[in-house]
């Protein structure tokens, strides 16, 4: 079917190879691959390193502020322990001295919700601390409550799960950091700082990276030149393993060399930052000791340096109480941080090598040729394919990734790698066999269990498809009767349920099933029955869905079967009548076998439709009572958009997808088997 497409543009490989041989060595695919591969690997490394540098600078700045806050916290605790009326006034003075010109600091006490001290410009004159917190400052109290709760959680569980230091960005480079201070082991209040973050600019060397890329390119180009001197004529589309191996070595050496260089730079950068912090610490300690002495309280970080802490207020131990760096701890820290970067650089090398291999092994040239030869075809497919990639295939892959995380609406901002939980979502869905739960009143079905929902879904699918096929078949047979009048009218009336948008149908039936005013209960009472509370029982609620969906789906089957019936030749029936076969025998021996190729695909497709029939369940019964009538698809939707557990919902959806896949495979096998036996 390939028309003329391509053939006109296809050129003789020998011609192409000769043309390639005239090209200079550094324009050969291998050399270009080396250039691009090195560019990719080194650019990524450069980016990772610059991120690391920025992150460490931020860390160091935060640590400086936290140190200062810890000193203030110690001062506040010391002043609070010293009884007396002048204590609060003393704290205000101490705070001003300790944080001189560094931004705005506040000390808040929980009991009595008091602002003990503040250097914020708003808190002067009438509003000067110490005073009670005003109504507008409720956020301060809430912040303190939150931190106290975090500390209490960590203490009661004796793990460090919740952060005890709160770092938030108020705007461009404006930070707010807060942490609790303790009196007698209890959180008494918080200290907080609002400061502008000024970071020392720090970038990895761009020259080194550029040089590395150029070097890789020249080296591989040189190799190509060498080979050509030896008389090896290049075919750009051929696999050239020798050249490829040499190129891999070049790329690996250059990426590794660049990585080592940058890791060294990073280590120096961190030492520089830590030195700066240690100087800062010494100043702070001296000042605090002097100020404390003048007030008669002891403010001291202790031998292990209580002030230099991480976000869980655990001592880091890098800077000792005497201000000296503890080399062993620092080295371990540098090492631990470098490990991640080493992995990233290895990954970058892998990506660069893939790109290189793509060019050096001729795949790029072949792909280029294929693209050029079939450019019309690709141009026509491109818009649809692009749309499908962005809005169908990528979301699918993304959804599968989500299924391995514990993402919820609350932590949606965090990077996905931090939320990775492996197969635990799947284990929780598939590994929970507690369908029955024993309570005081005996065994009760746990409607939230996956297997119960699966059971309901299967019942739902099987009953609906059976109802659809049965009534569709009966009506089609009736309509196919020869000589029957008004068939066109019946046909239009009977097709109507399929024509109405199904969300409208679902809402109509919801109205008709209304317990008090619904017409169905009126009809039941008309014949002396008791009104039914349709959505209160598991069975009756299931019936509402079945009735609605049965009403909705029989026309499809009817139309399909009618089409099949009309294509059966009348000769067969006449021959059968002559042979003396009864109507019943004709139905089983002629009609059904002839309908099989029509009905089977229709059943297959309606099984999938019913399995995924979201609107009827969601809009009619809504899964009532208590989620007992949820089918898998509505359950997944509710987990995602009512419980906001995105990761868990994704895993649930993947399970649904797998079930459908298994069904698809089984169904193909079955159809093939039946086709094989019939033909």
């Amino acid at each position: 079917m390939s028309l003329v497409a391509g053939s006109a543009y296809l050129e003789d490989p020998a011609v192409l190879a000769a043309r390639a041989a005239r090209r200079p060595a550094w324009l050969q695919p291998a050399a270009i691959g080396a250039l691009l591969g090195a560019l990719l690997a080194l650019a990524l490394s450069w980016w990772f390193v610059s991120q690391q540098r920025a992150e460490r600078a931020e860390d160091a700045w935060n640590r400086g502020v936290i140190m200062q806050l810890m000193a203030v916290a110690d001062a506040a605790a010391a002043v609070e322990r010293r009884d007396g009326t002048g204590a609060e006034q003393a704290l205000q003075g101490l705070l001003a001295e300790l944080t001189d010109g560094d931004g705005h600091f506040r000390v808040v006490r929980l009991s009595g919700s008091r602002l003990l001290a503040s250097t914020a410009p708003a808190d002067r004159d009438e509003a000067a601390a110490p005073r009670r917190l005003s109504r507008d400052e409720k956020w301060l109290f809430d912040l303190a409550q939150g931190l106290r709760a975090a500390v209490e959680t960590n203490v009661s569980e004796s793990v460090f799960r919740r952060r005890q230091v709160n770092v938030e960005a108020l705007g461009q480079d404006q930070m707010r950091i807060s942490l609790p201070y303790f009196v007698d082991g209890q959180v008494a209040g918080i200290v907080l700082a609002e400061r502008e973050r000024v970071l020392q600019p720090s970038r990895p060397s761009a020259v080194a990276a550029t040089a590395g890329v150029g070097l890789a390119w020249l080296a591989v180009g040189g190799l190509v030149l060498l080979r050509r001197r030896q008389g090896v004529s290049p075919d750009p589309a051929a696999r050239n393993w020798g050249l490829f191996g040499a190129g891999v070595l070049v790329l690996a050496a250059i990426t590794a060399g660049h990585g080592l260089l940058e890791l060294g730079g990073l280590e120096r950068w961190q030492r520089e930052l830590t030195d700066g912090l240690s100087d800062r610490f010494l100043e702070l300690r001296e000042e605090a000791a002097y100020l404390g002495g003048s007030l008669g309280v002891a403010i001291d970080p202790g031998r292990d340096n209580r002030w230099d802490v991480d976000l869980f207020q655990r001592e880091l131990g890098v800077i000792g109480g005497d201000g000296r760096l503890r080399e062993a701890v620092l080295d371990a820290d540098i090492d631990a941080r470098a490990a991640g970067l080493r992995k990233a650089i290895t990954g970058n090398l892998g990506l660069g090598l893939l790109l290189f291999a793509f060019f050096a092994l001729g795949a790029a040239t072949r792909t280029g040729r294929a693209l050029r030869d079939n450019r019309h075809a690709y141009m026509y497919v491109l818009p649809a394919m692009f749309g499908m990639l962005i809005l169908v295939f990528f979301p699918f892959a993304y959804g599968i990734t989500l299924s391995f995380t514990e993402q919820t609406a609350l932590n949606v901002g965090e990077p996905i790698t931090e939320l990775f939980v492996g197969f635990s979502n799947y284990l929780r869905i598939l590994g929970d066999f507690q369908v029955f739960r024993s309570t005081a009143e005996g065994a009760v079905i746990n409607y939230q269990n996956f297997y119960w929902t699966l059971f309901i879904t299967i019942c739902w699918t099987v009953t609906n498809v059976t109802v659809g096929v049965t009534f569709g078949m009966l009506l089609a047979l009736a309509l196919n009767t020869r000589g029957l009048r008004f068939t066109n009218l019946y046909r239009v009336l009977l097709i109507l349920p399929w024509a109405i948008p199904n969300y409208i149908t679902a809402l109509i039936w919801r109205g008709m099933f209304h317990q008090q005013f619904g017409v169905i209960n009126q009809a039941i009472q008309m014949f002396g029955g008791e009104p039914v509370a349709w959505f209160d029982g598991v069975f009756s609620a299931f019936m509402t869905g079945l009735i609605t969906n049965g009403w909705l789906s029989f026309p499809f089957m009817m139309v399909v079967i009618l089409g099949g019936l009309q294509s059966i030749s009348q000769d067969m029936y006449e021959a059968a009548t002559i042979d003396g076969a009864s109507k019943w025998q004709q139905f089983w021996q002629i009609t059904l076998p002839s309908l099989k190729p029509t009905i089977i695909p229709a059943v297959i497709i309606s099984v999938v439709w019913t399995f995924n029939m979201f609107n009827v369940i969601y809009l009619v019964s809504g899964g009532e009572p208590a989620g007992a009538n949820e089918i898998l698809i509505t359950k997944a939707y509710k987990i995602a958009f009512e419980e906001y557990r995105y990761g868990y919902a994704a895993a649930y959806s993947v399970v649904i997808f797998l079930i459908l896949m298994v069904y698809g495979v089984l169904q193909t096998r079955l159809t093939r088997a039946t086709e094989a036996t019939t033909s």
Partner: protein, 296 residues
């Protein structure tokens, strides 16, 4: 089968069939009549009539018969006038219209390539379209939401909805269009190429006009998909004035509101175009859906 007796026997047989078919037609039509009754009753409640304290059989029958106690166009007037329903209809029309244009363009070009060219990736591409039909919607919903609202910044806008609708309708439309293109003889194009026509000219001037029926079906299918969709629209659109008609309809009877009169009147207005389109279209839909399965 000759003589008076045979004909009378058949008539008796037909009577039974008519009873059966009339009964089913009533069942099929009743909910439709129900909507009309509620819509024309001029009230918001579900009951057709006020029942006396101790209703008898006839009172109950009156309560079930789909005939309003008094006729009124109040619901139709109010839903168009006092509720922003007209605006919602307009929104739906904009979304469905744009979806149709984009969807037809995407489906026709891709189906043409799949039908007429032999190129690396053709089989894989067609299979991937088919497999994508099995992806559960709930799995795609969260990522699509993130892509549309956060990456493309198209949340609460019609463009985002149009993109999603037209792309998700692609696989079905492509398979349907490809089937039709396959039936157009290739000799027509070959002679056009001989005459020096370019690919674009062949596609737009020769193939598309020949495939008009299939293009029409694809267009109507895209239109109906967009016109009837409500989950995505309900998830994406936040402002009440930007609702499409289906989201607006559920707004009348979902949650704590129960304005059944507005709902019924609105349903009728929304359904009329699609019901007629559907009745006209359904034979194509069936052949498209079961194509490949039906032999001979």
């Amino acid at each position: 089968m000759s003589g008076q007796g045979g004909r009378r026997g058949r008539r008796m047989q037909h009577l039974g069939l008519h009873v059966f078919l009339v009964a089913f037609s009533l069942i099929a039509v009743y909910p439709v009549l129900w909507v009309f009754t509620v819509a024309f009753s001029g009230q918001q409640n579900l009951a057709f009539v006020e029942l006396p304290p101790d209703p008898g059989f006839l009172d109950r029958l009156r309560a079930v018969a789909p005939w309003p106690a008094q006729f009124s166009l109040r619901n139709f007037v109010d839903v168009l006038d006092q509720q922003p329903f007209l605006r919602w209809m307009l929104n739906s029309a904009i979304v469905a219209g744009l979806t149709t244009v984009l969807g037809v363009f995407l489906a026709c070009t891709a189906a043409y390539a799949f039908s007429r060219f032999q190129f690396p990736g053709r089989r894989a591409g067609m299979m991937s379209f088919l497999v994508s039909q099995m992806f559960p919607g709930t799995l795609l919903l969260v990522p699509i939401y993130i892509i549309i609202t956060q990456w493309l910044g198209l949340g609460n806008s019609f463009i985002g909805l149009v993109l999603v609708y037209s792309v998700t309708a692609i696989p079905f439309c492509v398979w349907m269009m490809k089937g039709y293109f396959d039936t157009i003889p290739i000799e027509i194009e070959e002679s056009a190429i001989m005459d020096g026509a370019s690919r674009q000219v062949i596609f737009f001037k020769i193939i598309l006009p020949l495939a008009k029926p299939a293009v029409a079906v694809t267009a109507l299918f895209s239109f109906m998909t967009a016109w009837n969709e409500f989950i995505l629209a309900a998830t994406f659109l936040e402002e009440e004035l930007k609702y499409t008609a289906p989201v607006g309809l559920r707004f009348f009877v979902g949650g704590f509101s129960s304005e059944w009169g507005y709902f019924a009147a609105g349903s009728i207005i929304i359904s009329i175009p699609v019901v007629f389109l559907f009745l006209y279209l359904q034979k194509y839909l069936v052949s498209g859906l079961t194509a490949g399965g039906v032999k001979g």
